[in-house]
């Protein structure tokens, strides 16, 4: 096993940070590192948090960290902020809202630039999740770039997808929810210390019951970060809602994307499943498997 991957799996923080840099950069080193890290993955629960700008995603993650720490969980965060379309640079400020956890050895926070990628995440995010998983973090909290419109990728990479909205969005509620309602496992109305929260929650419940004929639909939870209310319900809901097979889903999504984007083709579910299995069971490299698919 490579030295860096071994150090990551042994829980060395500086090496984990360096590994994330290598994975973000991509290329041969990233592929080799990812391959070794994959041997150690499969334990972390990945929680995706998405929602419109300013909804309180980072603040809520800050509060979640506290609650999860009280349960004795070791918590990692990937906070994605948008890169500038002009320069490619970015100001990454999400972790500011999580400042009280900076010195907690049971918390690891990493700021990530979307590096030009749309969909609310960066291209390297699946690999970054794997690294945190391999390093033994129990929970990975993943904050998307707040678009709330097209961040549906999160559902593919997270075991639980949390959609955060706020009171007083008015008609925007409709727009935001159009794509996201289907993929969210938990709906949160944050800032419920502000007027209108009950109404927003009701609207969401109504939309949910219209959309699905199932009797069960995602819970709607009201939270307030300053009042520390609703956070514990959210945490217990996370545990209940987490879907099995998140890791398989992540690989699946990634393989499809690699192959389809490189070769502009559509793949059957059957083929993709088999490819996933060869990555999972035989430890084969994703890019190679993707190319194999494409070369068929």
């Amino acid at each position: 096993m490579s030295t860096l991957a071994a150090a990551v799996a042994a829980g060395h923080e500086g090496n984990l940070a360096r590994a994330l840099t290598v994975l973000e950069k991509g290329g041969v080193d990233a592929i080799a590192l990812r391959r070794t890290l994959l041997e150690h993955t499969g334990r972390a629960m990945v929680v995706g948090v998405t929602g419109p700008p300013g909804a309180g995603k980072s603040s809520l993650i800050g509060a979640l960290i506290g609650a999860l720490r009280n349960e004795g969980k070791r918590v990692a965060v990937l906070a994605v902020d948008p890169s500038s379309p002009l320069s490619g640079g970015a100001v990454l400020g999400d972790r500011t809202r999580m400042g009280e956890h900076t010195l907690d050895p049971g918390v690891f926070i990493r700021s990530v630039s979307s590096r030009g990628q749309s969909g609310g995440l960066s291209r390297a995010v699946p690999a970054l999740i794997d690294a945190l998983d391999a390093a033994g973090w129990d929970v990975v909290l993943l904050e998307t770039v707040g678009s709330g419109q097209s961040d549906v990728d999160i559902a593919e990479y997270a075991d639980v997808a949390v959609l955060v909205s706020v009171p007083g969005l008015g008609d925007d509620v409709q727009a935001i929810k159009a794509g996201m309602l289907e993929v969210a496992d938990i709906l949160v109305v944050n800032k419920s210390d502000l007027p209108g929260a009950a109404r927003t929650a009701r609207q969401l419940e109504q939309m949910l019951s219209l959309r699905s004929s199932d009797s069960v639909h995602p819970p709607v939870i009201r939270t307030s970060v300053p009042d520390a209310s609703g956070i514990d319900s959210l945490v217990s809901e996370l545990g209940r809602t987490a879907r099995a097979g998140g890791r398989l889903r992540r690989l699946r999504k990634e393989i499809v994307r690699e192959a389809e984007s490189a070769f502009a083709l559509r793949l059957s579910k059957d083929l993709v499943d088999r490819a996933c299995r060869s990555v999972l069971d035989e430890g084969r490299e994703i890019s190679v498997v993707a190319l194999e698919l494409a070369a068929r």
Partner: protein, 173 residues
């Protein structure tokens, strides 16, 4: 893959590796221009944050990834941030004498194994205190009126040097 015998499979596999290798060499040959990661922060009690905000924007516009913190960070907090964020450069803005504790920051960085990170200071630093900072290992000091180009050039240079040193020291992945 279903429907392939072993010979087919091994042929497909080597074909894939060939294509992959080609893609990767092409990617590698292109100038690797990953952004420099910079932490812009303020330690101590000074709340003047205009300068640090402007610097963060300059560096973003120059294509870098800036982890930005508000004022009032502690030294140990900055060290942990630098470690987790794997930054190459730390910029400390000081308008009210907090640069006096920058040598302590450098010491704690070294203790955490981060002695290769470049540290720059900006703001109001009396000339008589420059030597104290540079002796402690501060890379550059920028006073009021420093131009965008000056600052960006220095961060580019220092960041590239750190990256170069790290890539040579790197354990192969």
């Amino acid at each position: 893959m279903g429907g392939l015998d072993d010979a087919d499979r091994s042929h497909a596999y080597s074909e894939c590796e060939r294509v992959l290798a080609r893609i990767l060499t092409k990617r590698k040959a292109a100038p690797v221009d990953t952004p420099i990661r910079v932490l812009i922060t303020k330690i101590g009690l000074d709340g003047h944050d205009r300068g640090s905000r402007i610097i963060a924007a300059y560096l973003r516009d120059a294509g870098h990834e800036v982890v930005y913190t508000p004022p009032w960070q502690t030294i140990s907090g900055v060290v942990r941030l630098a470690l987790q964020e794997d930054v190459e450069v730390i910029g400390v803005s000081s308008l009210a004498t907090d640069h006096l504790i920058v040598p302590d920051l450098l010491r704690e960085l070294a203790e955490a194994g981060l002695d290769d990170v470049a540290v720059v200071v900006g703001g109001i630093v009396p000339d008589s205190e420059h030597a104290m900072l540079t002796d402690a290992g501060v890379g550059r000091i920028f006073g009021p009126g420093s131009s965008r180009d000056e600052i960006v050039d220095a961060v580019n240079q220092l960041g590239a040097a750190v990256r170069d040193r790290r890539s040579r020291a790197e354990v192969p992945a």
